[in-house]
């Protein structure tokens, strides 16, 4: 039985209201407890002075590209990148090829993740078969095969009746549905509808593409009683609608992608394809509204919305380039910026990356209670580093944050007590 003592770090465990400098003891891959624990004799001591010791991060949306697009990335390559980003649990959307609409695909993903051994991967099951929005999927079977939730990852269903049935069925399976509200008709384009898209002549997606779909979702959630989670909200107005729904007691939660907290449509500049993302980068006002919604707690989680690409995917005119950002390794430092910009206490911010996403997924993770799996992230909150695409562990080097100096560097990541990442200099 291997016993590890993590010594002298500032342990932040938002789920248990803990924030103090102390030791953390691990035995056989599980948390034993906090403090010096006199009868605990460690085989290994990890010095964590000056570091934050928190639960491993839980990322609610990361494309791993496997199965189907292994030329871009694999479960092994991206779970290693996740470890480098302090992330120990990844949710992968069901839009793989084949789609995660049957237990075999879900099991394949989990098996590959276990073989890689760098992070836990929780597949999101498809809400409808082949994600075509016609026939509901075998949600119960998907759940048994390890899908914590079911979802429709890219745009909303066109057919309101299918949507209602899917919600009803998910509710009766006691499953949360993951939704990304985007009206299938208004949602065609590649940039936020506003002055920037007008100037550049880019096909535009209006804010109403998100809010109309969200309004329909909320009404059907109210009618069916399903628990729902909104993925990667992009507009301030949508956050206000979710806040209002939460105030009325609807069982809804939301996340935003870290890049939406820092970039807006102006960053597209002269057609920078690295800023081509879906949902699109919206106005400065939206960006600020999203930050406030995270600070207020309306938006409970920050995800990476990681989408690794090969170089060619971005080497094209803007609208022909593929959307997405490689975000696993910038998730934590980008999120940490809210502590300064929006005066968020660090434990609250860490909750948005650990305990809250765990609660949204209804999984027993994201906390440091005795007996919990020792999934940990040790990071230096003061260390500055400059983003260099060539030094990312992800196979996708597509980041618009190249050259940004970020604060907060992961020094070590543990998965079930095993070190799966250690910063070379540490």
């Amino acid at each position: 039985m291997r016993r590890i003592r993590i010594q002298g770090g500032r342990v932040i465990d938002p789920a248990n209201g803990i924030d103090r400098i102390t030791d953390l003891c691990i035995a056989d891959g599980h948390i034993v407890g906090l403090g010096s624990l006199d009868d605990f004799h460690a085989d290994e001591t990890i010095t964590a002075e000056g570091l934050i010791v928190c639960p491993g991060l839980i990322d609610l949306s990361a494309r791993l590209r496997e199965p189907g697009l292994e030329t871009k990335a694999t479960i092994a390559s991206e779970s290693a990148a996740a470890a480098a980003g302090g992330i120990t649990t990844l949710c992968c959307p069901p839009d793989t090829d084949p789609v995660v609409d049957n237990p075999a695909v879900a099991e394949l993903i989990r098996l590959r993740a276990e073989q890689a051994g760098k992070a836990r991967v929780v597949p999101i099951g498809a809400l409808t078969q082949r994600l075509e929005g016609q026939q509901i999927s075998e949600m119960h079977e998907l759940h048994r095969a390890g899908c914590a939730v079911v979802g429709q990852p890219n745009r909303s269903l066109g057919n309101s009746l299918v949507q209602r049935r899917a919600f009803e069925y998910a509710a009766s399976c006691d499953l949360t549905v993951f939704l990304r509200p985007l009206d299938p008709w208004l949602g065609h384009g590649c940039a936020h509808e506003g002055p920037v898209a007008t100037r550049l002549g880019l096909p535009a997606i209006p804010e109403s593409a998100e809010t109309i779909a969200l309004a329909r979702d909320l009404l059907l959630i109210e009618q069916t009683g399903v628990r729902a989670h909104f993925c990667q909200l992009s507009s301030a107005r949508a956050c206000a609608m979710v806040a209002e729904a939460q105030a009325r007691g609807l069982p809804v939660s939301a996340d935003v992608a870290a890049h939406h907290l820092h970039l807006c449509d102006h960053d597209i500049g002269e057609f920078d394809t690295l800023c081509h993302v879906l949902p699109p980068l919206r106005s400065e006002r939206d960006r600020d509204g999203l930050c406030r919604a995270v600070a207020d707690g309306v938006v409970g989680a920050i995800c990476s919305d990681h989408q690794p690409h090969d170089t060619d995917a971005k080497l094209a005119p803007f609208s022909l380039s593929e959307p997405g950002i490689s975000g696993l390794e910038t998730l934590l430092p980008l999120a940490l910026r809210l502590c300064e910009s929006h005066a968020m206490p660090l434990p609250e911010l860490i909750a948005r990356l650990t305990s809250h996403p765990a609660r949204i997924l209804a999984i027993d993770s994201g906390h440091l209670s005795p007996g919990a799996s020792a999934d940990l992230c040790l990071f230096d909150p003061e260390q500055h580093w400059v983003v260099e695409p060539g030094r990312l562990h992800s196979r996708g080097h597509n980041t618009p944050f190249t050259g940004w100096e970020l604060k907060g560097r992961v020094r070590r990541t543990l998965l079930a007590g095993r070190t799966v990442f250690m910063e070379p200099s540490a």
Partner: protein, 329 residues
């Protein structure tokens, strides 16, 4: 916090290296283009319609979208400057499937091309190509998606200047499908940069992009009001496919409300000129009586377009060597 961006169109001496969009270019350069065009305007009427300025240069017309007029005038302009011209038409995108756009460009570069004249159906294509060409190659945008068509805008400015002189006194109305028009966007930038007193756009809301007023124009939905006291009236081509997608009810209704007829034109100043980038749809956006009438300068635009394209080509290729690198602005 983001990195400082280069002005991709200028070299380290502030001279025109690529011509991609009007936006980002100052009044001085636009005026220089017009003045240079003026010096070329007579070449077409000489016995020998050629000047030897670009002898030995290779210009590739790279058209990913069908075009007759623009490609032809670029070809004529290049030939009148004594350059060698290669026309490559890749109208169907299927043709480039096997080979990536960049591979194709690098192959053409390897053939020692000096200038690419590019038309593409996607906004930003010319910027993309300019960003990836070798340092000795220049790029002229001959139309990219809905974004820009800067040589068309400059030939329009040239036509206006020849007829009206000082932009500071002018009221200009652009009528029709602004939403899908790269010509309109470039015209608006050119007109505002040259100090036009008032630029108006006249169209139903379905054909206007969001926040178009932030480009510095006044928006009108009524044609008579929009044309009132204008010195210049510019019609835009209305693509037939715009009748789909619930943008307009019918060509007839569009012509009734926004067609440039003699009756509508009566609201403009009596000496107003009528322009159109062509090809025109008679009876859709413009009435034959106006298109062929005394105020129309549509064919003159085509002629002047050659001089403007000669001007831009000679400016981007006529720079002294050693100034290829872009400059941070």
């Amino acid at each position: 916090m983001s990195l400082r961006r280069q002005n991709p169109q200028l070299d380290s001496e502030g001279r025109l290296r690529h011509f991609l969009s009007i936006e980002g270019l100052g009044r001085t350069i636009l005026t220089e283009i017009l003045d240079t065009a003026e010096s070329f305007a007579g070449v077409g009427s000489q016995q020998v319609k050629k000047v030897p300025l670009l002898r030995g240069k290779t210009i590739v017309n790279l058209f990913f979208e069908a075009s007759t007029r623009t490609r032809t005038t670029f070809e004529l302009a290049a030939k009148r400057l004594s350059a060698d011209v290669l026309n490559i038409n890749i109208a169907s995108s299927a043709a480039v499937k096997g080979e990536s756009l960049l591979d194709m460009l690098h192959n053409l570069e390897a053939m020692q091309s000096d200038l690419f004249v590019v038309r593409h159906s996607e906004s930003g294509a010319a910027h993309f190509i300019a960003r990836h060409v070798a340092p000795h190659v220049s790029v002229i945008n001959a139309g990219d998606g809905r974004h820009a068509h800067p040589t068309q805008a400059m030939l329009d400015m040239f036509t206006i200047r020849r007829h009206k002189g000082d932009f500071g006194q002018l009221r200009v109305a652009i009528v029709g499908d602004i939403m899908h028009s790269r010509v309109a966007r470039s015209q608006i930038h050119a007109l505002t940069t040259l100090g036009t007193a008032e630029v108006r756009v006249v169209a139903p809301a379905t054909l206007l992009p969001t926040a178009v007023e932030q480009l510095g124009v006044h928006v009108f939905h009524d044609l008579a009001e929009g044309l009132r006291d204008c010195d210049v009236v510019i019609g835009l081509r209305l693509q037939r496919e715009r009748m789909e997608g619930a943008l307009l009810p019918s060509e007839e209704e569009f012509f009734e409300r926004y067609g440039l007829t003699e009756r509508a034109l009566a609201h403009a100043r009596p000496d107003a000129i009528v322009m159109h980038p062509g090809p025109i749809n008679r009876g859709v956006e413009i009435d034959s009586a106006v298109a062929d009438g005394p105020q129309a300068v549509i064919l003159e635009q085509v002629t002047l377009g050659i001089a403007v394209r000669m001007a831009v080509m000679s400016m981007v290729l006529g720079r002294p060597p050693g100034a290829e690198q872009g400059e941070t602005t």
